[in-house]
Symmetry: C2
Subunit: 500 residues, 2 copies
């Protein structure tokens, strides 16, 4: 390797170390930190953050990237080196194109915005948050102006979370889905409803924890290279390929929260654990995008964890853990219960059939805000109108409507669609998986997941950030991200459950 | 405050943030980190460490310190500002006087030394560690040469752990103690022995944990500003005045390990929690020295925790927690058991009467090594000879002799005496405490510790690193560190227990 590349790698490895250190501090903050530690932790994270930014945006790194671009002009564009440079350059551009005054101003605004959002939600009064959100939208538009013009203003925002993804692509995907999903939901609403009352009795935490750990272990989560802890909001973080942390939370009168939560986070965790070890401390470590990450968590949570073959294996074990709660619930009824479809107001509680509708709504509003075709002050009313249209119910107040999510308060416009894209990608991969592993269902029925995990490692995990999401999905499935597999999956699954 | 001081404070606050971040990473490493995370954590700590060093040793900070020295020449030398500058300047000198090539070389040597020490201890073969220790001693001598000449070569090493302390002072203190402690131990050995068999039965971990937490809470440990976790080696660390972490470990067939361990670490923790809030993110935060820190842990562990008044209050509660184990052990016998004196080979298991002997031995060897009057290769034999002389027993191999402690492997020559100084200071403070709080025993007998903690806060904790240990002890007790109170304490306590 050229001397310059060695130098660049050493510098960027240190930046990766500092990012990992911030992740450790963030993990501790959400798992174990006593409340008294909050103020000092804020200082520590701010200092580390600005130092990391400073180190990464140094002229030295900029010059090295520039020189190496020329040096690698003729290299195989698919080689790890070429991809390293491509990803590092994109990260560098994103970090340097934005003036530091903007960054500081935006940090202050979103700190205030987070507070006003929390107050507004508490009081269920959108007007408390309105002025800050207006400013956030304006500043996001300003952010877009720092980058070369794209096909659509929103592209630049989307790109932060889903590299290379275009607004037009997302709009087309969601356009195809909308009508079909609405139709499916109407059919389900007219069918005989499912009884899930057994999920709402008391399930002691200890047994929930143990069962979740058993499942994650069977999936292949490596406890020598990771661990699970408790936090208010479940999340996954990693401090390197060999130190991956997942968290969960428990509701004693609703066991799916922890169980499917653990499967979901384990899916994220397996992705992080499966990245090429050689990408450690490089920009290629991590997931391809939030959407691809979500495809992994959703695959384990839904396509595996809410499937009949999975429970054919695990249900006797779950009944052993909870004899009083589940002893009289047979497998078909259990399966129906955990797959019950019911339009609900809150995104994070939504089932597989309604989830994407929540996302569509948000995406449309975000694009309209950025385009300027919708004023922030009109959001609550628009939210409620669209909600009724897509899900057939109307929030009774802003807290359970437009104010429910934290994302806009931290300026995360562009984030939401990754959740829905993750759902789509997961089923695209699942169709391909079933072609490549003909007895996948049977393996799952036997509680075996090694072939499945091996496939995901070889086809997705190993590449880390080497490919952009559309490239990766195309490479693996032969097609870009497309909604048809997901729509097929929903129709098949729910036709059977609801006898449509 | 002058503009320069404001600037200096801002720069040093960032250094404090980075040090705190390292402490978080270190805490995680010893409590929750999965084994797979070790390699990456090493990189993260190394990067953070060198960056912190770089930031702190900047010319900018050096110039500001220099300018402010002149500006504050006539200020009250006891003011917080003057002390801030004094401590910061000392830290700065210590960090800048040592060439970075030396630091890098020494880090490599001690990394290797740690490995060879672990192997040597495993194999109980000193020769495996000998060459590295020889080099470590040589490099510690080289370290001394970077500083202005002191009265004794060893002064510079001592100063790192016990600021301002002189070799001659320590030698005088230990010289006074040696004969008297040996004499006391002989008398105890000739007396009727104590039965502590009840300590070696099974005590379930859960009840041990709960009881330890109950005691720490009564002491005044603030769980909103701290927490306790488990680790292989108990320790205390803090990420600021309001985020203090202690750890403990459990031996199910020896409950004193966790119980007195928790009191010990809680003592350290209370110190960290009691520092002036205004010292947060300044060089004045933290403890005055390792010795003063140890005085706090020992005070709570021994002077409170192994006292009769304490157990008059807590013993019924302990018996409730462990009815089968302690139901038939009366309080006088329990008290004797937990205060049993028995010369043993391992320092960390030593009782109050023998502990200092372990330290004296090490101190003498360290000074001799630095003076060059003892060769490293002769250490094992010398160790055993002195051990027999001081404690009347001889290690049967190097693992339970000269190789037992980790300290020399990381180059910590100068560290050990702080343990003994802590014991001495704790009793000096205790004598003063009993003068100032006439009913201290009675308060403890009632399980009340607020007056005691208040006194420690007002006289010790609040000052953080403002005073050097000798200054602080003098200020509080009217005398420098002296062994007489400790000797009196031992004699009184053990005369009663052993009927001497």
């Amino acid at each position: 390797m050229s001397e310059k590349f060695t130098k660049l790698k050493a510098l960027i490895a240190e930046v990766a170390d500092l990012n990992a250190a911030q992740a450790v501090l963030g993990w501790d903050q959400q798992t174990y930190m006593p409340s008294g530690g909050a103020e000092a932790r804020g200082h520590q994270l701010a200092t580390l953050g600005s130092l990391t930014h400073q180190k990464f945006t140094s002229e030295e790194i900029g010059n090295l990237l520039n020189d190496l671009k020329a040096e690698f002009a003729d290299a195989d564009p698919d080689s790890d080196e070429a991809r390293y440079l491509k990803v590092a350059t994109k990260d560098y551009d994103q970090a340097t194109k934005v003036p530091s005054e903007y960054v500081a101003k935006f940090a202050k605004l979103t700190a205030r915005g987070h507070e006003s959002w929390a107050k507004a939600r508490e009081a269920s009064d959108f007007s408390i948050f309105q002025a800050d959100l207006e400013e956030i939208v304006e500043m996001r538009k300003e952010y877009v102006s720092f980058f070369p013009p794209a096909d659509h203003l929103y592209d630049t925002l989307l790109d932060e979370f889903e590299p290379g993804m275009k607004t037009a692509e997302v709009q087309e995907i969601f356009g195809t889905m909308r009508a079909k999903q609405v139709e499916l939901l109407k059919a389900i609403a007219d069918a005989k409803q499912v009884d899930d009352s057994f999920m709402h009795v008391n399930y002691p935490e200890k047994q929930q924890w143990d069962f979740g750990v058993e499942v994650a272990t069977k999936f292949g989560f490596d406890w020598k290279r990771g661990r699970q802890d408790k936090s208010v909001h479940p999340f996954t973080t990693s401090f390197g390929v060999n130190d991956v942390r997942i968290t969960t939370r428990f509701m004693e009168d609703f066991f799916p929260s922890a169980l499917f939560g653990t499967m979901h986070e384990a899916g994220h965790g397996l992705y992080e654990m499966g990245v090429n070890q050689e990408y450690e401390r490089t920009p290629l470590n991590g997931g391809a995008s939030l959407g691809v990450h979500e495809s992994q968590s959703r695959l384990w949570e839904n396509l595996v964890g809410r499937s009949m073959p999975f429970w054919e294996h695990f249900y006797p074990r779950l009944q052993e853990s909870f004899p009083a709660q589940l002893g009289n619930v047979n497998l078909p009824n259990f399966y129906k219960g955990i797959n019950k479809v019911e339009p609900s107001l809150i995104r994070v509680e939504a089932d597989e059939a309604t989830y994407n509708m929540h996302i569509m709504l948000r995406l449309e509003l975000e694009i309209a805000m950025i385009e300027g075709s919708v004023a922030v002050k009109d959001l609550p009313e628009l939210w409620n109108t669209k909600f009724e249209e897509y899900l057939g119910i109307t929030p009774s107040n802003d807290a359970e409507g437009v104010l429910q999510d934290i994302h806009w308060s931290f300026g995360g416009l562009g984030y939401f669609s990754t959740y829905a894209l993750g759902n789509l990608i997961s089923v695209q991969l699942w169709e391909k998986l079933n072609k490549d592993i003909s007895d996948l269902d049977e393996q799952i029925r036997q509680g075996k997941f090694d072939t499945l995990l091996g496939w995901l490692r070889d086809n997705i995990h190993i590449y880390g950030r080497k490919y952009e999401p559309q490239e990766l999905v195309q490479k693996v499935t032969g097609s870009k991200i497309t909604p048809e597999p997901y729509l097929r999956y929903l129709e098949n699954k729910y036709s059977e459950i609801y006898g449509l």
